[in-house]
């Protein structure tokens, strides 16, 4: 069982809420849901749509063909009717079209009867739920959470009326029990940060990163977290560094444009050795690019962000689960090595809602690596004490009587005082780079999926994991010897598995949502392995598993690998 529906309309028509009702209702029926948002950078008009895929097994990505479509405007009909499966149904108001091929209803009249013109869409949702035989009472629980008073009553009446206007045509096996959660990548990052004890978040709104900050702000009072909207991203990172210096777990985040402004601060974190966690939720650039769409174009920029040479860690996120656990892990790594850790996501992962097992909070540990009195030698504290590991004991200003903490953006001696000494310079560079060496032992190798020692090896990173996983499953079913390496930790670059599988593979296909195959360049540089073929997409729309599947078939057709 694997169904796929779409709801489309203009900005301002409320498709977010309508889709949310569908998504949550399906989820509460014990089904697995995956939703993908496609919206324009405008507040009114234009064309927006949300795709909702659901079934009885975990779903990792979106699909391109639909069993049902709700069209709130003519654009939706014109753009998406052709993507209906043969048995597919298109639901619309008869004022848009009364073509008998479509399921057209007088939703406006229904809304009038319900006493609220805004509930016409809710009636359409009722029709959709009936097509799949989804229990009405579950949808009522969702409406109940969303609305109050008269608005709630009007919505209930509308969904009921719509439901009774249609006939069931698809069979859905409902799940037995709904234990799962339904969450987006950005919400999962926020939840991971809160679990890890973030106490200070400074940021500046920038799509598609903003909802990380928004969720944390909602919990500000309950969890005691200061969320500050700053004047610019330069301030965001410099503030977060100040908070971290003063001893609290601090975070900032943005999309590529805002991250570009933070770059001086990443360098500052590097030389001052202040722990910091930064999220970069990518959208297509350069510059303003496609504000609301997806891309993986910033990888090398992120890895190389910050002038000068210093250690940093870059973790790309594959899924909401990954987002939660890796965010929590990022704080521990930042604290342990006293470095910036950058989490890389993108609009696809940020905005997609996915049904997943509830996160296990007992798996989150908090390791601060903060010292007290014991860090003093004869009553003196050296913030940048030269040690075997390169990591110096860190104390918090004001917390150790008689000891002061001096950090400096200039090259400094062990006390943090400005120096111009060649000797000290070399020692301090070596100290910082020792941490990078140590960090290499911390990194996780990419996730391997598929047939052991496959002939065809896909390489990918971050959010393409979902579509790649489903494509690999389909190709395995076709009998292909195929596997994939999905990179999560990406800097320092993990080389063991790519070397191992790269040796055996007859064809390496690098799959990335960008134009320049940045992962492939990292593989060449760090593991001396290069891809034979590439599947690259950079139109701002996420590649689907079907898209990858078809291209891999194409690429392998000529050879015996097919």
């Amino acid at each position: 069982m694997d169904y796929n529906v779409l709801i489309g309309g203009a900005a301002g028509q409320g498709i977010d809420t309508l889709s949310y009702i569908i998504e949550k209702t399906l989820k509460r029926c014990g089904l697995y849901v995956f939703s993908m948002k496609d919206y324009m950078s405008r507040v009114r008009g234009g064309h927006n749509f949300i795709q909702v895929r659901f079934g009885d097994k975990p779903i990792y990505s979106h699909d391109e063909k639909f069993n049902a479509i709700i069209a709130l405007d003519e654009d939706t009909v014109n753009l998406h009717a052709k993507s209906l499966k043969t048995s597919g149904k298109l639901i619309l108001d008869k004022s848009i079209s009364d073509n008998s091929a479509y399921l057209s209803f007088d939703f406006k009249a229904v809304a009038k009867e319900c006493g609220n013109p805004r509930v016409a869409g809710t009636a359409a949702v009722g029709v959709l739920l009936k097509l799949f035989g989804i229990p009405l009472d579950v949808s009522h629980t969702v409406l109940d959470d969303e609305f109050k008073g008269d608005v709630l009553n009007a919505n209930i009446k509308a969904i009921d009326t719509g439901y009774n206007m249609a006939k069931q045509i698809f069979n859905v096996t409902l799940g037995k029990k709904d234990d799962n959660i339904y969450i987006s990548g950005n919400e999962a990052i926020a939840l991971g940060a809160i679990a890890a004890g973030v106490k200070f978040y400074s940021g500046y709104p920038m799509t598609p990163s903003t909802s990380v900050m928004t969720y944390i702000a909602k919990k500000s009072h309950d969890a005691g977290i200061v969320v500050e909207q700053v004047e610019d991203e330069i301030s965001a990172i410099n503030m977060a560094l100040g908070a971290s210096y003063a001893g609290v777990r601090a975070m900032t985040g943005s999309s590529g444009g805002g991250f570009a402004l933070m770059v001086e601060g990443i360098s500052l974190a590097g030389i001052t050795e202040i722990p910091i966690v930064i999220t970069e939720v990518q959208r297509p650039g350069p510059a303003t690019g496609f504000p609301t769409r997806t891309e993986q174009g910033d990888l090398r920029f992120i890895i190389h962000s910050g002038h000068g040479e210093f250690p940093k860690m870059v973790i790309s996120l594959r899924s909401p689960e990954d987002a939660f656990y890796q965010t929590a892990r990022a704080f521990n790594i930042a604290d342990k090595y006293q470095i910036p850790v950058i989490l890389v996501s993108d609009q696809y992962l940020a905005d997609s809602g996915v049904t997943v097992k509830p996160f296990d909070f007992t798996k989150v540990t908090i390791e601060r690596h903060i010292s007290g009195n014991e860090a003093l030698e004869n009553g003196v504290y050296k913030r940048y004490k030269l040690t075997e590991s390169g990591i110096s004991p860190r104390i918090i200003p004001g917390k150790v009587e008689g000891a002061t903490v001096l950090i400096d953006s200039d090259e400094h001696d062990e006390f943090g005082h400005i120096t111009e000494s060649q000797d000290v310079r070399v020692k301090m560079v070596n100290k910082r780079m020792k941490k990078f060496k140590l960090l290499k032992e911390e990194i996780q190798e990419p996730l391997f999926i598929g047939a052991e020692n496959p002939d065809v090896l896909i390489t990918c990173w971050g959010s393409t994991y979902g579509p790649v996983k489903e494509a690999v499953d389909m190709l395995l079913k076709d009998g292909m010897s195929i596997g994939a390496l999905s990179f999560g930790d990406i800097w320092p670059f993990p080389t063991k598995l790519i070397k191992k599988y790269g040796k055996f593979a007859k064809m390496i296909i690098d799959v990335e949502q960008n134009a320049t195959a940045q992962l492939d360049s990292l593989m060449r540089e760090n593991a001396l392995i290069k891809a034979d073929e590439h599947i690259l997409k950079y139109d701002g729309r996420m590649m689907s598993s079907r898209y990858i599947y078809e291209r891999v078939r194409e690429m392998t057709k000529a050879s015996s690998l097919y």
Partner: protein, 282 residues
Amino acid sequence: MNTAFETYETAWCPGCGNFGILNALKDALTELGLKPHQVVIASGIGQAAKMPHYINVNGFNGLHGRALPPATAINIANKDLKVIIDSGDGDTYGEGGNHFIHAIRRNANIAHFVHDNQIYGLTKGQASPTTAKGQKTSLQFDGVILDPVKPIKLALTMGAGFVARSFSGNHEHLKKMMKEAIMYDGYALLDIFQPCVTFNKVNTFKWYNDRVYELPDDYDYTDLDNAFKVADEWGDRIPIGIIYKVEKPTYIDNVSFLKDGPPLVDAKLDPMMAEKYLDDFR
């Protein structure tokens, strides 16, 4: 003499106005009974910004123009620390101008000492935002063509609750102003005339000495209209002292859990406390 805030060897030119600021600061901290570990000095980059290296307190010597953001966050993260900024006129009003405007709105508890030498010292004599119009510099060979920033007026316009000016050549006055700024609850701007003997041949000790006068005791610093008038006085006579001072709720006051709770840095961290938020996603 109190040696808690011992001085380290400085890299300032002999006769530089920064020495007067350093000495006044040490005396102010001593007289306020503060201990080195209770104080943080944040700074940017420049000659003034080297202050954290020359006095024994906690120091955050960050990036050029960026003293305010970390200082704000340090106050938020640990309200028990006394947060001071020592930075230059270029650092504060130029590279950090945007932060200056918004820091005033935030009103975190910070005493901001701007070493205003009306020049870029560290980079060898280019114009700063406060260099006089027409003044020739090592870069503005035909003289500065821009109107200067008026920091006092700008701060008043933005609603700062404490705005003062002093002169590094007047130890007692400067020390007093520093103590007032440090004790003030909220953002306090203290613009300090600091002769740069090497690169600013116009605004010398003599130039300032000939012009500055202390605001009289009966000056009402709670009167904003008055303050604006005083802020505009420039030329033959330049006022120093507290130009404007009123009480205002601070950033901490405006966030109830910061105001009523322990310092943020003392919060207990426990992942399990966040588990309940899973309900938002059921």
